[in-house]
């Protein structure tokens, strides 16, 4: 028995969901560049509609990345504020796994094949993972990563899969199309309503953090910011 609020702003989408003992309610909208304006009002609406206050929750889950760096921090900031303020633990959830969870649970016929969610990481790279349906959950088959599209192609071919599907904006890179997925939808986003299902499992297993320990997972940690050159020191 648990109540979890989940938030995600890792892409152009902004979503908030509430898990109440297996029932999921929530809101999802495309809100590019306006996450800061929309996120807290959506939290308030979702809680009000359920007649719940923060103090009645067991945890707050968040899309911890990968995704837009700024988006991840907006979400984490709000989550840390809510969780610290209400003395709640937080549950980090992979945005890629969340995408796969939403994709596979939306249509049962998709569940017989793995899915490759991909987000555009800019700089000609994608954030990607590979997930298969098992016991109601999208389980990771490989470690999520940031890679050049060509490297994704090599990695997937190494898996010798019979077939798979794809989702997410990262699929716009032409090399990925050569993988010929059974179906592919680029307009597919992480959604708190799917993330919260994974969060409920994680909470049941005790995979929680204190609010001040929460951090985004950027995956890309070595952007080549140019260090200055010194003359004498």
């Amino acid at each position: 028995m648990s109540r979890i609020l989940a938030l995600d702003t890792s892409t152009d989408a902004c979503s908030v969901a509430l898990w109440c003992d297996g029932r999921v309610e929530g809101q999802f909208e495309l809100a590019a560049k306006s996450h800061t304006q929309r996120l807290l009002p959506m939290v308030d609406e979702v809680l009000s509609e359920a007649g719940l206050s923060l103090s009645q929750l067991d945890a707050i889950a968040y899309g911890r990345g990968p995704g837009s760096f700024t988006g991840l921090r907006i979400c984490l900031g709000v989550v840390q504020g809510l969780a610290f303020g209400a003395d709640l633990p937080v549950v980090p959830v992979s945005t890629l796994q969340g995408m796969a969870q939403g994709w596979l649970s939306a249509r049962p016929e998709r569940q017989q094949w793995p899915v490759l969610p991909a987000l555009d990481a800019r700089m000609s790279e994608v954030y990607w993972g590979l997930y298969q349906w098992h016991d109601g959950v999208a389980e990771a088959m490989v470690k999520e990563a940031v890679s050049a599209p060509e490297a994704v192609v090599d990695a997937v071919q190494g898996q010798s899969l019979d077939a798979f599907t794809g989702c997410g904006a990262g699929w716009h890179y032409p090399p990925l199309q050569s993988l010929k997925p059974l179906s592919c939808e680029q307009q597919w986003y992480p959604d708190a309503r799917a993330l919260v299902v994974l969060a409920a499992r994680a909470l049941a297993q005790g995979a929680v953090q204190a609010a001040d320990q929460a951090e985004p997972l950027y995956l890309r940690d070595t952007v080549s910011w140019k260090k200055r050159e010194r003359i004498r020191r």
């Binding site: 800061t36 304006q37 929309r38 996120l39 807290l40 009002p41 939290v43 308030d44 923060l54 760096f69 700024t70 921090r73 907006i74 984490l76 900031g77 709000v78 989550v79 840390q80 504020g81 809510l82 969780a83 610290f84 303020g85 209400a86 609010a211 001040d212 951090e215 985004p216 950027y218 952007v223 910011w225 140019k226 260090k227 200055r228 010194r230 003359i231 004498r232 020191r233």
Partner: protein, 342 residues
Amino acid sequence: MRVLGIETSCDETGVAIYDGERGLLAHALYSQIDLHAEYGGVVPELASRDHVRKLLPLIEQVMAECGSQKEDIDAICYTAGPGLIGALMVGASLGRALAYAWGVPAVGVHHMEGHLLAPMLEASPPAFPFVALLVSGGHTQLVAVKGIGQYEMLGESLDDAAGEAFDKAAKMLDLDYPGGPHIARLAERGTPGRFTFPRPMVDRPGLDFSFSGLKTYTLNTVAEHAQVDGLPDEQTCADIAHAFQEAVVGTLAIKCRRALEQTGLKTLIIAGGVSANTRLRTELEAALGKIGARVYYARPAFCTDNGAMIAYAGCQRLMAGQRESLAVNVKARWPLDSLPPL
């Protein structure tokens, strides 16, 4: 009213608790200077990442330091601009959400209003009206201040901010970021009078500033005296630092005096990172003493970015009834004179 103030507009994470009756109760700062010095300036993405790691621990720290429980905090204020947009979002998102969780009001604070009011945190604060010189890495402004939110822009830099000029001159002399303190330290060993740098725009009427010409002059002087490795000898570097600092300080002092004469006011406050410069303080005291005016400034820790000034400014606006909705708005640019008066 007891407020929690949060500052994350650039490369320093600042948190403070200010009580409308008892004054400043606690403040803490985490400076990212060491992180950015390696790059010769602030890297916005790294700054934002560091704010995320440091903010909540700092909030816990100041609350513990002054023995404030969650129930004791009546409101939260955070810097909403101007500044690095990604960095601002960290403090604003967390601050607004925390206020929501605690069921208390929140308000977004203008970073430069925070600086402008920082001298109010000192034991004998100035009284309105006064002229404010805001000098930092991002701003060089002269403002006539009748009261909180009653700001009339008298003049500002047409190009580089004074602090930015210090940073750039420091780089030319192979000194670290931020340049101000390093130039000042080197200038102490400089020979007065060996070089005389131009005071930009002092021969023209008006209260605007320009520091880009001074930057070029500095670069040319460095090049003229450069040795094989591209730098002048150590004494010449010190002499250049001295001449550069004298030119900036002299220019600021002339314009401040002019602003006081033009407005007929007798009080000047200086705020922002460059206001920590000792040479600027003594020069202003000398120049303005002659016309019977007094200079006020904050302690050095409250000249640079800090949470205390945000808590103070926010507290004033909250006590006047100002409130923020649940929509969080941060602005990279935000004219000071567009703020509502209290």
